[in-house]
Subunit: 552 residues, 2 copies
């Protein structure tokens, strides 16, 4: 019998930043590490969310011992309700993470039917032949852990997201001692976050932001607004404390942020001085120099609180000349234009906007190059797998790991669905399983695929022209229509002539092409060809032509 | 009679980066400064280009004495063919600019019918009571000028794009002496580029790129590819020279770049050592370490040469492991995702990609903060107008100008269409004229407006569902259909049931709503309501519902 090996399979989170989901498997025991979603790329028109294809998990459902989460961000925990709708498994995570996911599970009516087990740094949980040790790391949300999976053939360390913040807001620094110990004990494979490998040096501590906030509060005479990611509990903490020191009261505004803050507060992950946090209507009664709003909208999302304020459409908050807005986040790739629009609109209202790399209002939650090196040198793994990055990040991380002495052949470059096997001094890609994107659109999961997206792209480019006609089944004569209707192509009132002429072409196509017979497919394709050609000649555009012929 | 004042009106290029077009007017004499286009924003679905609304020019066409261009970039000269199609005026520009626009005019069949007058730095041209002096500045394309417009009430200086590159590739530095002289003579108003005001310090010289290129050529053992903006003649020059020094031959690939290079070469703005520039099929015969490709595609444009190479679809160029690609440009806001995709794909092919801020492969063509200050201190204008920036850039520039001693009341914050008037110590916004965006889609100019774009956005989000029925005019009975067809909504084969049920709802709506009568509008709205509601309940999505009822 072949010796059993430790398997690791990314079902998401390699070659991409989002939807982190890894399978770790030994014999008959399988655990899931993280369960994240991704936000759609620009070209995924109309899609709300992207989650990993978990066919592999469903095919192996009898082996699944548990789902382990490293922290509470959407790209690590957001797919959980979708996965748990198809697969039953206990969920292991720290207290804050359990609190945050409970909100999601409740929305999906799964709360209560899922076993949620709270763990803390230092805990070790057994899953058959595997066991998982939880070890504290610093990140931009409290209560984040790194996990060390032990197996009969060696240890696998999965970093989740981390940075070596030496002065995190909650005072809980990374457990360096245990990481060094792990390294001394021997680690078979390290799966490392590499998303910020392009950045030299160390990521600054969250604490530098406090200095900026203090400086702004010192100088500001009007209202202050701070926007950040709804999940950035540490940043909200900093904002509230800094405001409090300068005699301001805070209102947190925006559904997702309010619910995160409520959970964090209930579970004691937010320290709020008495009376420092008020409802927005209460804060609005104070003089402007006593007000701080902390809101959603740092990514320019069109329905967020900040976008509505920038459009002067928010019901409760109105900013005025002399007020200050701090954009305490960087735009995620793809959101740059939307964020810039928001900033411009605020400036137009006379608001002073503090934003951008030069102004120390945001730091990343991810490790920069020197921290990635430090992690490698603490863990001293035999094999290394870059994760949580686009392909270019993985390549740059591979080079960095080589510089740290890891042999090139021991660094595995993976794709989604790649099966890696490890044992003793063995570490190789051995197989590939089904994996990929599942698109969530409204309440339908996985029904919108490439064909539908291709049509949406076509429709978005030049619109649609619909040609309708009713034809006598016996004679092939047109008895009603053709009618031509368009949307997203031309403004119909300005283009009556063009559409009239298109109608003519459709009629000719029907008459010339199919005298005395009524073949639906043929008639429709003739209309499509004739009208499409005519419109292209006239406008150099290619709207989607949709002929609908009815027989009677 | 009221004393005549100097008027300045931006018809584009304020509150936005693109489509720079200014009107300067005194009495019966009007000149146009620059004539640029913009590329569409993300939400302008399917639009090819955006040009300024020139209603004001058309209403005042008898006053227009000429169009003056500062340099050959699209955002300063690209709208010229569209404007000249509606308005006849002589065009004044330096030799290279005339060469580049001739290519465009030829494409639009306007070459020969337009009077093109070549000017050079130091020239002064009279336009009635106005005169224009052309003064050399450095930018990322050769032969750029700043213009000083003289009028009976004082001088207006329009910077166009500039940076104070002390060692430009063509050796032609900004004419500092003349700028200082202008300042000493007295300048009424300065209209200044402010697009890079967020950047502290000085923009590095183009020359630093040469060092990077040399370093890469020194080390590279395979093919090298350099991509940059098609108009970046200086960068192409650097690439060819550096390649030549290292024994490589260059092929320039990509339609727009080839045509720019051909013009620049013909007019002696490119110095090419004998035999250094070859056709791509000639270069392909050499060993990889003798090859440089200079290509389009630095913005990830899907049909560009580099994108096709990254997709392994280019007919003549194939990169291999060990080859090097240099992305010698930064992504324009909105293009970040596309550029990242290209880089990732190249890395996946084993190509080493050199990109990003850390690697000194690109410098901006625009002045950073210290250069903007220097321009202010050289020109010492009475009034200042920030231009060529989004609103936030204009605000930051205003603060910078105040720091340089310009009184806040003398800095005018404008919008597109704002009329400013200047005379002696007077400078104010006095009026507003019609101005805005005109969208170019295919060969139609200005026919696609907000209604069409709104429909495209709707279509792109959830697609379209078309419901067709034929109804007897007399009885109101349905004689054919209803048929339901969708695109971009669901994959029809998976959703037959849903579409069948929608058909039922449409039939019910027709029968219940209008027994015994056939009112087209009413029937269509009943279908729309019933089917829309049903689909939203089932899917939580809102495709565009298009009912088409035919009467017979």
């Amino acid at each position: 019998m072949a010796k059993k090996r430790l398997k690791a399979i990314p079902l998401g989170g390699v070659g991409e930043i989002g939807k982190n989901l890894w399978v770790v498997e030994f014999g008959d025991d399988l655990i899931v590490l993280d369960c994240g979603l991704a936000f759609p790329e620009d070209e995924m028109l109309g899609i709300d969310l992207v989650i990993p294809d978990i066919s592999y998990l469903l095919d192996n459902r009898e082996k699944v011992r548990g789902i382990v989460l490293t922290h509470g961000h959407e790209d690590h925990a957001g797919a959980l309700p979708y996965v748990l709708a198809q697969l039953s498994a206990p969920v292991y995570a720290t207290k804050l993470v359990q609190g945050l996911i409970s909100v999601k599970l409740k929305e999906h009516r799964l709360l209560g039917s899922v076993e949620q087990i709270v763990v803390e740094s230092g805990d070790i949980v057994d899953f058959g032949e595997l066991s998982v040790e939880f070890i504290r790391v610093a990140h931009s949300i409290p209560d984040a852990v790194l996990v060390a999976v032990d197996s009969p053939v060696g240890k696998l360390v999965f970093t989740g997201d981390f940075k070596f913040d030496q002065s995190p807001m909650d005072g809980k620094v990374t457990d360096f001692a245990r990481l060094a110990e792990l390294g001394a004990e021997g680690v078979l494979v390290l799966i490392s976050d590499c998303t910020r490998v392009e950045q030299p040096g160390f990521t600054p501590s969250e604490r530098v932001i406090t200095e900026t906030f203090d400086r702004v509060f010192q100088a500001a005479e009007g209202r202050v607004l701070i926007t950040t990611f709804a999940s950035n509990i540490s940043r909200v903490q900093q904002a509230i404390q800094s405001a409090h020191r300068h005699g301001r009261k805070t209102a947190v505004v925006g559904r997702s942020m309010e619910s995160n803050v409520a959970v964090a507060r209930e579970l004691d992950y937010l320290t709020i001085p008495d009376g420092a946090l008020l409802r927005v209507d209460e804060v609005n009664k104070l003089s402007p120099d006593k007000i701080l709003y902390v809101t959603t909208g740092s990514q320019g999302e069109p329905t967020s609180v900040l976008s509505r304020i920038a459009n002067q459409e928010h019901r409760q908050i109105k900013l005025e000349p002399g007020d200050t807005a701090i954009i305490s986040a960087t735009p995620v790739p793809g959101n740059e234009e939307a964020v810039a629009r928001t900033i411009n609109k605020l400036f137009r209202q006379g608001v002073d906007v503090i934003y951008g790399a030069e102004s120390s209002v945001h730091v990343s939650g991810h490790a920069s190059r020197e921290e990635l090196r430090l992690m490698l040198n603490l863990i001293r793994p035999q094999f290394v797998v870059p994760a949580h990055g686009e392909y270019r990040h993985m390549v740059l991380y591979k080079r960095l790991a080589e510089e740290c002495g890891v042999p090139a052949s021991n660094i595995l470059m993976t794709d989604i669905g790649t099966v890696m096997e490890f044992a003793d001094s063995f570490g190789k890609i051995t197989d590939k399983v089904v994996a990929g994107d599942v698109l969530v659109d409204g309440i339908t999961v996985g029904e919108v695929g490439e064909v539908v997206l291709r049509d949406r792209r076509l429709l978005s480019k030049d619109g649609v022209v619909i040609v309708v006609a009713t034809v006598d089944r016996q004679t092939g004569m047109v008895v009603a229509g053709p009618d031509v209707v368009s949307r997203g192509f031309v403004y119909a009132r300005n283009s009556e002539e063009l559409l009239e002429a298109a109608k003519e072409r459709a009629l000719q196509a029907l008459e010339v092409a199919v005298p005395g017979q009524a073949e639906l497919g043929l008639m429709q394709s003739k209309i499509k060809e004739a009208v499409g050609k005519f419109i292209y000649e006239q406008t150099r555009r290619r709207p989607m032509i949709m002929p609908v012929v009815q027989l009677m």
